[in-house]
Subunit: 535 residues, 2 copies
Amino acid sequence: MSATRLRRQTRPTPSLRDFALAFDEIKGIVNAGPVKSLAFKRLAVLEQRFNLHVLLNGWRELSSQKSVPHRDFYNVRKVDTHVHHGVHHSACMNQKHLLRFIKSKLRKHGNEIVTNRDGHLLTLADVFKSLKLTAYDLSIDTLDMHAHDTFHRFDRFNLKYNPAGQSRLREIFLKTDNHVRGRYLAELTKEVINDLEASKYQLAEWRVSVYGRKRSEWAKLADWFYDNRLSSPNVRWMIQVPRLYAVYRASGLVETFDEVLANIFAPLFENTLDPSSNPKLHAFLEAIVGFDSVDDESKPDGMPLDPNRLVAPGDWNSTDEPAYGYWMYHLYANLRSLNGLRRARGLSTFEFRPHCGEAGDVDHLVAAFLLTTKINHGVQLRRSPALQYLYYLAQLGVAMSPLSNNRLFLDFAKSPFPKYFKRGLNISLSTDDPLMLHFTKDPLVEEYSVAAQVWKLSSTDICEIARTSVLQSGVEDRFKRHFLGDHYDAPGAAGNDIRMTNVPDIRVMYRHETLTNELAYVAKLSSRAVPPPPK
Amino acid sequence: MSATRLRRQTRPTPSLRDFALAFDEIKGIVNAGPVKSLAFKRLAVLEQRFNLHVLLNGWRELSSQKSVPHRDFYNVRKVDTHVHHGVHHSACMNQKHLLRFIKSKLRKHGNEIVTNRDGHLLTLADVFKSLKLTAYDLSIDTLDMHAHDTFHRFDRFNLKYNPAGQSRLREIFLKTDNHVRGRYLAELTKEVINDLEASKYQLAEWRVSVYGRKRSEWAKLADWFYDNRLSSPNVRWMIQVPRLYAVYRASGLVETFDEVLANIFAPLFENTLDPSSNPKLHAFLEAIVGFDSVDDESKPDGMPLDPNRLVAPGDWNSTDEPAYGYWMYHLYANLRSLNGLRRARGLSTFEFRPHCGEAGDVDHLVAAFLLTTKINHGVQLRRSPALQYLYYLAQLGVAMSPLSNNRLFLDFAKSPFPKYFKRGLNISLSTDDPLMLHFTKDPLVEEYSVAAQVWKLSSTDICEIARTSVLQSGVEDRFKRHFLGDHYDAPGAAGNDIRMTNVPDIRVMYRHETLTNELAYVAKLSSRAVPPPPK
């Protein structure tokens, strides 16, 4: 561990007031006219410089790819950096797969008891009878899980997640905490894991939800994970926290925001202090690489953070949802403490990689800039040149899902992906939600295909994006060495091994030199010393 | 057979002069200012009417799809109406498949003699040695068959078809007429056939080339087809004739254009008169559903047809390539005679479905309008509202390949597909060339996926396109009944069976009524009686 990193880790966690002050400061900076003009121009320069690079060196890049034995786009590692597993909304299997699974269960195991309705135990056959459906009847259309009519309707997108519009089927097939103790979802999960392992070169980071409604959520999830033996070298797990305090408060599940935080984090501190108190949870935590935070960002935000009138989580007992930034800060602060404790005990730590900038207020991206090093979506960066430029300079990782945006918030043709890519933002491609979005049996390659076709990405481009996806992912250091080469964490071309990544050195050099020059340019402007480029 | 159809069939074939006169007449009409204005406006009306239909009835369409048991987009029949098989340019397997096949041959059968170079017999291992390549070295990049750098460069697109830039590999793996007598290509073909048959719901119409260089081409192709047992219920074969007279003339293979025509058609007339003269060719002809005509349409056309100075094919001995229209007329006229003879003898007949309007002169579409009922591509119709309107009124079938256009002549974002679709042109989706274009193992679904995602096609839309693809295809009547329902050839909703097609009647009714009204509108304008809508 470098001295700088150690120093950073041992610095005390900034207070909510520190955060609120910094938030206001950055917000002021990125909205200042001269900053916006400068950022806009520098981004245009970066874009044109890339165009020039490709015009002059594109053939060199292709010819070095050709000279690498064996390696091509299909056998470079790619990580699906943002995909929901099946709890809360969305799911990792495609709809055809889910349909086949439901049909086969109904045919072969129709007499299994799957639910308890008002004290009556119902078999799967009973449930379908009550829905007036047979196995033969079921089709993708009756499942009705593909996203249509969902543009700017995140609420509908979430409803789609009920197969055949029936929350009963969702309960049975897509929940961990049901009468069959999540066995069906586990079996489905294992089938998708088998597909991933068979593909060899594809990995995925699956989100499962912890809501913070009850203290017992972690133990149940850990039981499900452990008892069903769901660990796989091709899968890393992420926890997604839906921002639903107001819902639990309204239904009387909690009294204050602090209770939600305690429900989420207390079991983790306890398990970190004494792993033997729940060995299954301990094992599950070792498979988790980070925390995500999810909800409809297009909903109007709550009260903005006023540094002089801050409410502590224990005092937040209003029926309003706290603002995005308030949620982010508290997840960040708790994770930071937790990570400190876990690091001290030699345990794994968690990244904080929230959904951010999918829709709604551009300020969300200010919060994430201060609190995280990676986000999901980030399409709203197109609305703020200064923030986009900051994200470039800091090389903040952005897992993008253009097909998902296309269904929810932003037409594919308007996606900022190709601009971000040319400008050198640290972006990867991810599927978000194969159940609702993709058509083929290979959703991640389909996501790459649509992007490559529509935006005419070269073989070098898509291999660079694949490499970025591995770097961005929470995959462990030893795997990254295996996938990208031993020196993957060295800056510039020294960190690239074309035999593993199929990315020409010339491309990596171009990116590194451009970033170094840009940082030097900014440093010169502000008459300070040149900071080292982030890795 | 209806009286009208019979009368049409027994009418004498129009002469080249008749064609040239009609060609000039139609050209004059579609370029007249008032006609262009009218067509432009009517197409806009058709488009807005469709938008209105979907806004008002979209939910009805979706709900009727949901109420159909079992059927969904995945299990409706779809025909890949335009895909090249592997001879001449392009190929029907994807590049990963070809790569795996070449690697496995080299590993397991490296000592098979595959070619004769200057009297020396070389094994596959020898060939790879001379190319300085091993099985391990080979990658998608070294194969270098994906289309990049090909925009407006049809010539390069064709060159790509040599694996690893090596015509020797093409010779060995992608030719029917080589030292292994096309066995490798046949084995590859059978693998793709197996995939299609396993998919059950997908069919393909594969193009193989007859060049017209020699009289023996047909017999060799028929031997290859028959000896390798390549017939399949999921595949129909088409003959593509490359327009390369000038090349053969320059190299002394032929003296006149008529010799090319004779090389193409004489063996067919002979076999039709006496099938026992070559039973394999007879069997092959029964598997062929139509003729295509291919070449780079963006090349400048030869001399236009002057009705007063027409040259007969036997007198065409110049080194110039005849114009597109001249080629089309002669293919049409010969096919018409051949079909007459075959029909009289109870044999199968051939459709004429040329490449047309992929690029180049809009006049090509005038020629096809006069001579054919189906074409491939047709993107140039966007340049001529009057021709586009005529194609709509006549419901001339257009097999479109937006991903192919995107690589060669027209950006995906500019594709006229969504406009044609809304306006009600008779269009299907096809892959053209999975070897160079597609990324996943399921190229046809990938083609649908990109279109559906980018253009936000509904489930009704894609099922309608799938139904159109079956109607457009050369698949036999009894199969169409099986795939689409017994009355598929009845007009309007009577011809639709949602249980088979998953297309709501309301959509089919909308299309039929709109067309009927439009034909009535045109008839009223020209004060003539209402013609019956074409089926």
